[in-house]
């Protein structure tokens, strides 16, 4: 069954090709069925591969499928080969599963769009790229997937390219990602330089067999460069600015970017390279600090945003910060687990937001919503599930994964990591319920005209919502503390020392007085935090609706700072964008391009023209002159013939 793994990549690729080449001439239904069918088949094959992997003994769960030799040059050799192990299996199941639901949803959501086939072509390609990224068995093939994901995000964010803001957002996403990818590419080159190989298995076995002492400079450089790529792709400080703007694309695309594909790539990459990261405590500190900082920073911005998708976008950045925090303290399983549960509930929330926007004929401002609960009941119920899940109320999925990250941050990291994570969790619960209350509760602020068109979304949009709501509910049970299935499943990838064991020993060692009850205390604390956030939101937006206004007036400065996202975009503009533009225009364009490049080309043309102007004087048009030249020539030849010798 494992041999089928190449099919997972083949189906979306076929879907892309068919819809891209012939989609224009096909009926809309056919295009949709082909796209969904491709990803659906991919998902089925992923399940088969997963089953095949389960049949193997836990320590032997690594399968490599060599397709062909891709590049061979000197000692450099790159195979096009796929790798199936527990980590990549979790990823392909998440990507193709959530991706499939988003595809189905898109059929309804994009029904009226004239770029229907183009949309599905890109969407299939996007899924293909992400699957390639997680299935590749070496860094170079992974880099191809890495770049292809960036390309597809560009194409899909700028899907409505007639809109200036959309094409700008697409460009921003592409350029910001390029900064990170630069680091990633350098990291891969450095890996080849140090290890003389780019295969995962060879690199990791060389690294884990004690050839490098902990804190080795080269390893630190490699991991930092790779992490630079991860900050770009996974929207961490300082390269997160593209993600909030990325919601300019169609809403299902946001769901795909935020949940299944793209932003999870960075977390996956670090989890994949856990052997390298473990060798560099410095990088781990950087990863954990940036993760924690991003979690808090983005959550605080999310508190005051008024655009339904923008709130969700900042919440994604914040949740990704959690995942990096988990990876940074060495709890890779917790990071990947949160990645998976987050994929479920964030896809649900984005698709739910899409359903709300669809119902309100394109309105995205939550100040113009309210009291939608009874009008779009299915959307409301599923959105509620997603909100509870992300806020971290047991037994929904988000609770288990977030709680595990906080526990790990406390046990392996330090109190600062934990407290930042806890504050971010409080913020998360608050802003998510603020979003829920402002959208579905209270009094209606929808204008009359929109109210008339208010309608629940069609079945092909609500069914994925219900499916994702189910996943958001049960997904967490994979990682119940103490009997964590995902922990057990992933342990071969993250070394023999599963984090639970480490946690256990450390618990026993460094905190004898906490003992085994610490995890349960943590659960109670994080639940209390989530409930506190919800209660706060309830007080402010249901009980006393005038309270937010008063607070805003009271803390005008902070509110403005948060509303303008700490002015980071403005600061980046002033520091990087505008100087670059200025240098480009003044020196590179007006100087190098106009003067030197155009100058030399035009100069040659002018030189030829000038010489020709002199030469054309010979051409008088009088036959007499021409005859005279002939005679002079003849005389010259005769003289040469007679006296030349």
């Amino acid at each position: 069954m494992l041999d089928l793994v190449a099919l997972i990549l083949l189906f979306p690729l076929i879907g892309t090709a068919v819809n891209g080449l012939a989609g224009k001439r096909m009926r809309k239904e056919t295009v949709g069925y082909i796209a969904c069918g491709a990803i659906g088949l991919s998902f089925l094959v992923s399940i088969l591969v997963f089953c095949g992997l389960l049949l193997l003994p836990p320590e032997g769960r690594l399968f490599e499928k060599h397709l062909f030799v891709w590049i061979e040059s000197g000692s450099f050799r790159s195979l096009a080969a796929l790798q199936v192990d527990p980590l990549s299996t979790v990823m392909i199941l998440t990507v193709s599963g959530v991706g499939f639901l988003i595809h189905v949803y898109s059929i309804g959501y994009m029904h009226h769009d004239k770029g229907y086939h183009r949309y599905f072509c890109y969407l299939n390609l996007f899924t293909f790229s992400m699957l390639l990224l997680v299935l590749s068995n070496n860094f170079l093939l992974m880099f191809i997937g890495w770049e292809a994901v960036g390309l597809c995000s560009y194409l899909l964010i700028g899907f409505w390219f007639e809109k200036k803001s959309a094409s700008n957002a697409a460009k921003k996403a592409f350029v910001v990602n390029r900064v990170g990818d630069f680091g990633f590419a350098l990291g891969v080159m450095l890996i080849f330089l140090i290890f003389h190989s780019i295969d995962f298995t060879e690199v990791f076995s060389a690294a884990s067999h004690g050839n490098f002492e902990t804190g080795n400079f080269a390893i630190t450089m490699i991991t930092l460069l790779l992490f630079m790529g991860a900050t770009g792709k996974s929207a961490q400080i300082p390269l997160y600015t593209w993600l909030p703007d990325a919601m300019e694309g169609p809403t299902p695309v946001s769901a795909l970017i935020h949940a299944a594909t793209m932003v999870t790539a960075g977390v996956y990459m670090i989890a994949r390279c856990n052997v390298l990261y473990m060798l560099s405590p410095f990088t781990m500190t950087v990863v954990a600090s940036i993760g924690a900082a991003t979690a808090l920073f983005a959550a605080s911005i999310g508190l005051v945003q008024n655009d339904i998708k923008r709130v969700l976008a900042y919440s994604t950045i914040s949740q990704l910060g959690y995942m990096f925090l988990a990876c940074g303290v060495g709890a890779f399983t917790a990071g990947v687990f949160h990645l998976m549960t987050h994929a479920f509930f964030k896809a649900l929330l984005f698709l739910g937001a899409g359903s709300v926007i669809h119902a309100l004929s394109g309105e995205q401002d939550i100040r113009k919503m309210g009291a939608l609960k009874s009008h779009i009941p299915t959307t409301y119920k599923t959105f509620l599930v997603g909100t509870i899940a992300i806020a971290g109320i047991p037994p929904f999925a988000g609770f288990f994964s977030k709680d595990e990250i906080l526990l790990e941050a406390f046990v392996r990291g330090n109190f600062i990591y934990w407290s930042i994570g806890a504050i971010a969790a409080l913020f998360t619960a608050f802003y998510m319920f603020r979003l829920l209350f402002m959208t579905f509760y209270g009094e209606s602020r929808v204008d009359h005209h929109t109210m008339e068109h208010l309608h629940e979304s069609p079945g092909n949009m609500t069914l994925p919502l219900i499916a994702l709501a189910g996943l958001s509910f049960v997904g967490g049970f994979l990682g119940i503390p103490g009997a964590s299935a995902i922990n057990h499943f992933l342990s071969p990838v993250f070394g023999g020392h599963t984090h639970a064991e480490i946690a256990g020993t450390e618990l026993a060692g460094h905190s004898g007085h906490h003992g085994a009850w610490l995890p349960y205390l943590m659960m109670v604390v994080s639940t209390a935090i989530a409930i506190a956030g919800i209660f706060l939101a309830y007080q402010m937006y249901i009980k006393k609706p005038d309270l937010p206004k008063k607070l805003t007036d009271r803390f005008r400065f902070i509110h403005k700072l948060l509303l303008n996202k700490y002015y980071v975009d403005e600061i980046y503009d002033a520091l990087f964008v505008n100087p670059t533009k200025k240098i480009s225009v003044k020196i590179l364009w007006k100087g190098v391009d106009v003067r030197i490049i155009d100058g030399s080309v035009n100069g040659i043309a002018r030189l030829v023209g000038g010489l020709s102007n002199v030469l054309r004087l010979l051409q008088t048009g009088y036959i007499r002159n021409y005859a005279f030249y002939i005679v002079v020539g003849c005389i010259f030849i005769v003289v040469l013939a007679v006296f030349g010798k």
Binding site: R616, Q619, T620, G621, Y622, I623, R624, A627, V631
Partner: protein, 100 residues
């Protein structure tokens, strides 16, 4: 005694007269006649050399030259007539449209 040198000198003089005529005269018909003169100067040297070398090839070549000259006269005169009909002149200074 008239030697080959005399013939060749005469031929050269005639040829030069022809060349100078082509170069300095303005009337197309006269230029045309000068070209004929050059051709015939060459004919003269052909014949002289043929006689001197006791070879028939030179004389044979003269026939070709005369044939070409006759054809050229027909075409050339036709062109001159055509030009005259268009421009009402055979002064070649007025016929200078063959430049850039």
């Amino acid at each position: 005694m008239i030697t080959i040198t005399h013939y060749l000198v005469l031929s050269a003089i005639l040829f030069t007269v022809g060349v100078i005529g082509v170069l300095i005269r303005r009337n197309a018909i006269i230029i045309f006649m000068c070209i004929e003169l050059m051709l015939n100067a060459v004919n003269l040297s052909f014949v002289a050399c043929a006689h001197y070398l006791n070879s028939m090839q030179g004389q044979l070549f003269v026939f070709f030259t005369m044939t070409v000259a006759a054809a050229e006269a027909a075409v050339g005169l036709a062109i001159i007539v055509a030009v005259f009909r268009n421009k009402e002149t055979v002064n070649i200074d007025d016929i200078n449209i063959m430049k850039w």
